[in-house]
Subunit: 109 residues, 2 copies
């Protein structure tokens, strides 16, 4: 399989009802991933290379995977870009108030 | 240093103002540690061997260390026992609403 066709493999995302709280807490417990989530809070959808984080591409890719598999973000391919969005509504449906409470706590910390 | 005097070394706990949100989220992201926190919620102080968790003593000791260093629990020695309590008031002061929101989310998950 060529690299470009591999990149087209649909990305796996948990259904809203399957989002696991412990996975979400783990995903949020890292400073880079927290920065990604906070950045997406302010902006509905962003291309992968545009986040204000200073880590290697492979590390960033790992962080996006953890966030995606936890249900915190949704990613989709569009032309040559991978676009990332926060699943704020899904999170709110699954765990009401959780994301707000955590982000508020982080902002005041 | 003998084993018994080592056990008397005062246990380190972060001050309330130094409790770090990412450490708290990490501590809560494990099912055994979550069970310990939920058990302590219902009971002010408990001896270490009395938690309803099925893990090796060394693993349990590690989990208590992670919880203690995150600021979620306080432990003290009394006679031959190590007693563990949830720092619910300290957490509430540091991150209002956080523990309630997380435990409610977990209970409904």
């Amino acid at each position: 399989m060529s690299r470009s066709s591999r990149r087209r493999t649909p990305l796996a995302h948990p259904a809203t009802g399957e989002i696991d709280l412990l996975d979400v807490l783990h995903a949020l417990s890292d400073p880079t991933r927290m920065t990604i989530v906070r950045t997406l809070r302010a902006e509905p959808e962003r291309a992968c290379g545009t986040f204000p984080v200073d880590v290697a591409a492979s590390t960033l890719s790992h962080h996006f995977k953890v966030l995606r598999e936890s249900g915190l973000i949704r990613q989709r391919e569009e032309a040559n870009r991978r676009l990332t969005a926060l699943r704020a509504a899904d999170l709110e449906e699954r765990f009401p108030g959780l994301l707000d409470t955590v982000l508020t706590a982080y902002a005041q910390g």
